[in-house]
């Protein structure tokens, strides 16, 4: 399938389906029936586009790169999984922008710069011309509040719509497709009541293990095979931080993830308290205000995560397949997040300076512009994994629980729970 190749995959005809990748994968437990990456590569070899898009195996993979290190054909199964995810993201989202961006860096950069400049100019224009009426509240040296508010709303609706369509598309292709390996009971359909119970149970499990703790990710970090005498560079002690601290990929991801959650919460609280309760949007808060503290801590967490991530990518640990495989759009995303953290950090410092420097307005413009860009990019880049991966893992857990449920069910009760589809 040449299509996936454009997203960075190797020529799938290099693969001779030996299954070394599957056998080394730390995520595949013996006999649990999954067979990625081999099975997924096989789908591409056979050109089974729908099956490829409908395999939640894509979203189980955390790209530890162990399969790539083991591959006897020196193909890149991990890179293939990465490219397939990007391909899937592009296929799920309805606008076709993701496809364009993935295939052409120039267009992507041009598009982003244009939007950024236009947005910045719009902010500046609306501010100086009073487009939104009186400058009724103040955000750090300028009067951008209303602009940010309304354009944020518009973007939010757009992004939400695109993501929802993508979510529905992915869900449809997941349920339409049989899993790679058929297991007993997997094709049975449960009656509504039971399936809802299982869906809730699997979602709770997903929320606890995968979203909050990201246990699967952690396991990948811990169990991946390393050749004797060469510990993974990113698990080595990082001397610039607390001695003995290991900044694993899981740690980095957790700090970025909770950074985002924290920032989102802080923004929401800020809006709630200032706009709705105090009705004083421009109100100044002291640095020890809980919401402000939450924002600062979350921001630092995010900045730490992205800095480490960028640092490891730049220093390129030789024995780490993951950091070696960073593509253009991965860089773009990381740098954007990092810029958000950095500008936000400066903006926060400036709020507590006795006098505002003249250029503080530009810092806030830059901050808002990069946030806007990132926000717009959510459905089109690998950032979209924030909805697709949980969905994939949710379906996976659901299937596991369903099989578990049906296996433990006495056979005479089975007809009561299974819906017969004619």
């Amino acid at each position: 399938m040449n299509e996936v190749k454009k997203y960075g995959a190797f020529d799938v005809s290099a693969c001779f389906n030996c299954g070394t990748c599957t056998a080394t994968c730390p995520l595949i437990e013996a006999e649990n029936g999954n067979e990625f990456p081999r099975g997924v590569i096989r789908l591409a070899q056979l050109g089974q586009k729908d099956k490829l898009l409908g395999s939640n195996e894509l979203w189980m993979c955390y790209h530890c790169g162990d399969c790539t290190a083991a591959c006897p054909r020196e193909a890149d199964p991990a890179g293939f999984m990465q490219a397939s995810r990007k391909y899937a993201i592009s296929e799920y989202e309805p606008t076709g922008l993701a496809k364009l961006f993935h295939k052409n860096r120039g267009i992507a950069l041009f598009f982003m710069l244009t939007i950024g400049i236009l947005f910045a100019a719009f902010m500046e224009y609306s501010n100086s011309s009073g487009l939104f009426g009186e400058h009724d509240y103040l955000v750090l040296g300028g009067y951008y509040g209303e602009v940010i508010h309304y354009s944020g709303m518009a973007m939010g609706i757009f992004v939400f719509l695109v993501l929802t369509i993508g979510f529905i598309r992915m869900y449809r292709s997941l349920v339409r497709n049989e899993p790679l390996r058929k297991r007993e009971y997997i094709m049975d359909h449960l009656k509504m009541k039971h399936s809802i119970i299982l869906a809730i149970r699997s979602f709770l499990d997903l929320f606890k293990n995968e979203i909050l703790m990201q246990k699967r990710f952690k396991r990948v970090d811990e169990e991946v095979y390393y050749e004797e005498g060469s510990p993974p560079a990113y698990l080595e002690i990082n001397k610039s931080f607390e001695p003995g601290q290991k900044v694993s990929r899981w740690m980095i991801h957790m700090s970025i993830f909770f950074g985002f959650i924290g920032l989102a919460l802080a923004t929401a609280f800020d809006y709630l308290i200032k706009d709705l309760i105090l009705e004083d949007p421009a109100g100044w808060v002291p640095i020890y205000h809980p919401v402000r503290l939450l924002g600062i801590i979350a921001g630092i967490s995010m900045l730490f995560g992205t800095t480490m991530s960028l640092y490891y990518r730049l220093t390129k640990p030789e024995d780490n397949e993951y950091y070696k495989s960073t593509k253009f759009d991965d860089w773009l995303l990381l740098i954007l997040i990092w810029l958000i953290g950095l500008t936000g950090f400066f903006a926060t410092i400036m709020v507590y300076l006795p006098t505002l420097p003249n250029w503080s307005g530009y810092v806030i413009i830059a901050h808002v512009v990069v946030i806007g860009e990132l926000f717009l990019m959510i459905p089109f880049t690998k950032f979209a994994h924030m909805i697709y991966r949980p969905l994939g893992l949710w379906m996976l857990k659901y299937e596991e629980l369903k099989i578990d449920f049906l296996e433990n069910l006495p056979s005479e009760e089975r007809s009561e729970v299974i819906k017969v589809i004619v």
Binding site: C18, C21, A23, T24, E29, A69, A70, P72, E227
Partner: protein, 445 residues
């Protein structure tokens, strides 16, 4: 016609394995004078180490030793062991002057009777990692092995403690510690490369990197199975237990670009099947499983041999082993994705694991400096007319036989030896010059 009067020998054969021996015997029978050299202390090459041959299950020694003897005692064949090719000069009349480094044996070959009294006297006992592949022991002095030719003692000076007991024990005073290496020069009409192969020498890190005791190579298993082997039975190295389940890991040292051997070694399927069949007799209670991607049984009677093995109850599992771990009991745990109805990723324990290592040419970069024939991408010696006149290298007058040009089984090696003997005779009559000049087609290898 090459002027025979100038020549010391008509042909030099580098390597005295089965292919080199066959070439030497055939040339000798044609009345040509042949010099055959081998860097080992005995002729016989790889085949003399083996137990049985596939698919007939004939005893390997029974095929090799008559041929070895025929070559060694041939009136027209001169054999030099512990001799290495070290350089050559090409003359305009299509002859070569070759330099041969004769390493000292520290034993006077004329005086030694092969009684092995010296070995009995020698106090140094060490692992035999040559002939016995680490599955037996040897002394610092002695006849290399029972069927060695020449049947003369050899002193391992690196491990000798110079105690002198062997010299005292020797009734013919054949041992000379002061012997020196010599450089011999001969004028020859043709050179035949018959350097053969060795197993892939690196065991992958994922297969334990050689640290797991109960992971052995195919050749080591061959020594366990061979009637000439020391063990006289199947045991696993860590605790000498008789293994109850034995795994064969196919493509462990070939078809793997990550260790630099991307090609198929072509013999591993068959020797694994052969060993499995022999193991069914040597260790009748053991379960034998062969993990393979596919079985390549291509020769005469090979597929029937494979069918026999299947009917004997040997398990053939489709799946490439990715990782081998050592368990607490010393057994090996194989991580493999098994294909088929009840497949999926599995972790399976076996008492003993045999790696079917690949075939890698012994003709290395160092030898290529001494004799600059072109090599294929896979580092085997390049044959310029591979499909029509095999055995011709890029230097006129230099031929290659056996596994030096690519993985071959024993039958093919012997065929290649005989066919090149004919080519050498033609060359010496001055009739092959044109073939050397025209490359057949760019061989995609």
């Amino acid at each position: 016609m090459i002027n025979n009067e100038k020549l010391d020998y008509d042909a030099l054969i580098i390597g005295a394995g089965i292919a080199g021996i066959q070439t030497a015997v055939d040339l000798g029978n044609m009345g040509l004078k042949v010099l055959m050299i081998d860097k080992q202390s005995s002729i016989g090459g790889t085949m003399i180490q083996l137990s049985k041959v596939f698919p007939t299950l004939d005893c390997a020694s029974c095929i090799t030793t008559p041929k070895m003897s025929a070559a060694f005692n041939h009136a027209n064949v001169t054999t030099k062991t512990l001799a290495e090719f070290s350089g050559f000069t090409e003359f305009s009349d299509d002859t070569f002057e070759v330099e041969i480094k004769q390493k000292s044996r520290y034993v006077d070959i004329g005086a030694c009777t092969g009684c092995n009294e010296c070995a009995d006297a020698c106090p140094v006992i060490m692992l035999d990692d040559g002939y016995d592949e680490g599955m037996g022991y040897k002394k610092a002095i002695g006849v290399p092995f029972a069927t060695a030719l020449p049947q003369k003692a050899v002193l391992d000076i690196d491990n000798c403690i110079l105690c002198g007991r062997c010299a005292n024990a020797c009734s013919t005073s054949a041992i000379h510690f002061e012997m020196k290496d010599e450089l011999l020069k001969y004028r020859v009409g043709a050179i035949v490369i018959a350097t053969g192969f060795h197993e892939t020498q690196i065991i992958k890190e994922r297969f334990g990197g050689g640290r797991i005791k109960n992971v052995i190579t195919g050749k080591q298993m061959e020594r366990l199975l061979a009637p000439t082997g020391l063990s006289q039975g199947i045991f696993r190295p860590s605790d000498s237990k008789i293994p109850w389940s034995i795994a064969y890991v196919q493509c462990a040292g070939s078809r793997d670009a990550s260790i630099g051997v991307p090609y198929c070694s072509s013999i591993c399927c068959m020797f694994a099947i052969k060993q499995a069949i022999l193991l069914s007799a040597a260790a009748p209670l053991a379960d034998i499983t062969i993990y393979n991607m596919d079985i390549r049984a291509f020769g005469k009677g090979y597929d029937e041999f494979y069918e026999t093995a299947r009917n004997m109850g040997i398990n053939f599992v489709k799946g490439k082993v990715a990782l081998i771990e050592e368990t607490e009991t010393g057994s090996t745990k194989l991580h493999v994705e098994v294909f088929g109805e009840d497949g999926g990723k599995q972790e399976i324990e076996h008492d003993l694991t045999v790696l079917s290592m690949g075939v890698v040419p012994q003709w290395d970069a160092l030898m290529s400096k001494k004799l600059p024939v072109s090599l294929n991408v896979d580092r085997f010696v390049k044959e310029i007319r591979f499909s029509s006149e095999p055995g011709l290298t890029t230097i006129p007058g230099v031929f290659a036989v056996g596994t030096s040009t690519g993985p071959k089984d024993i039958v093919d090696s012997i065929i290649s030896g005989s066919s090149v003997a004919g080519k050498v005779a033609l060359w010496l009559k001055g009739e092959l010059r044109d073939s050397f000049l025209v490359e057949e087609f760019p061989v995609v290898m």
